[in-house]
Amino acid sequence: MTEIVFRLANGTEHRVQAQEGDTVMSAALKNGVPGIIAECGGSCSCATCHCYLPGDKINAFPAMESFEEEMLEGVASERLPTSRLSCQLNITPDHAGIVIDIPATQL
């Protein structure tokens, strides 16, 4: 179990327990965190699982592949240097306590 925090655009925080094998996306869906939609179920096809990493933790996950990078060009909310697709982020115990921001809209 690794505790991570989701912060919605309105500031509300959700603390969730991620299990081994969870991605940031699956941890959000399983725990009923709104704002991560994930229509394609994590296959890097839909861009509705957009999230922002903390500015000082953009290297906390392995670097993205060019496909994800290009997908991010088409996200519905602002694309920032901290933007990632949450379905591509595997959670490990190292991520305990990380605060993930969820954008205002995914569609």
């Binding site: 296959s43 096809s45 060009e73």
Partner: protein
Amino acid sequence: MSNGTVIVGACQAGFQIAASLREKGYGERILLIGEESYAPYQRPPLSKAYMTGDPSIEKLLLRAPGFYEMNKIEFVSGERITEVDLRGGRVVSAGGTAFSFDHLALATGCAARKLPLPGGDLPGVMTLRDIPDALEMRERLHAAENVVVIGGGFIGLESAAVAAKLGKKAVVLEAMDRLLARVVAPPMSDFYAAAHARRGVTVVLNARIERIEGDANGVRGVRMQDGSLLPADLVVVGIGGVARTELAQQVGIECSNGILVDDRARTSIAEVVAAGDVATHRDLYGRATRLESVQNAIDQAKTAAASILGLEEHYTAVPWFWSDQADLKLQITGLSTGYDNFVVRGVPDSESFSLLYYAGDRLIAVDSVGKPADHLAARRILAAGVAVPKDVAADLAVPLKSLLG
């Protein structure tokens, strides 16, 4: 006391109707009834990553079990509904259990079409629709040497790519003169034929099959009409789906290919809604269209939920779809049916390009291979009805996104 809503069919569309009802504030009872023994799950991975990756089912589930309880959605598994009694406001399962409703939603999906040829039911001749199919296919695939796929559609091509990746000899038999003939234009068909060949899959077009040969121990091969025999220890049949309209027909709901619904997901009996693979709606151009896609299941289900709540929402979402074949991702948006010309953007053999479909000068659909930025921009362009001049479409130096202003 109110009986609430009964949803028959507990997969992508049924799940979404239930979830959207709660999101939109529905306070009555929700019963989500499915004949499968699993909670609603994703089918797309079954012909893709699931074949070679982690066999656990948990990752396929749309939501963790706790979701249903948390949202007061009563999920009933393993019950096949065989009878609808509209007057009495109840459905009855094969096991004789009755469930009462005020509103009924049909999300019964479709079934894989079986091969209508001699030998089509031999052991080792399979269709791929659900988890039990996928588990059986995984097992047979790992043991097989020669895999023959009948049908060059999405599920067939994805399965062939998986077989090739596992080092099997994979052959795709397509009856038409090109792959994916009903959904893409010739340059895309040609691209996929070449791309699969590069990855070791043999693609046979204009294939004429006589029968499947084998015995009770299993399939041995596919006999072609020219007399030749293709050896096979696994035959995957991917020749499309048939909408499961039985229940609707039983009570006289209008069906044609699927359950006919209006743009509010209402059937010919207004108290009954339908969504997903089972539903046929009028598309943006007024044509009867039945889509088998996750997007359609989700968006139509949201509309159906609104109709149950008496809200007026119209299903106008721009369709989109994806297919993962080997390392190639295809993303499609819009409906290309009825195109009369197209523009190729980029070089197909680079394995990264888009194909833009036009009816006259109007853009109606875009297929992108390895070009997600084109795909996502195209979804917005189609939704907004923005014009895309053909010279711009062909010019890789101009991002499609820039047309959105």
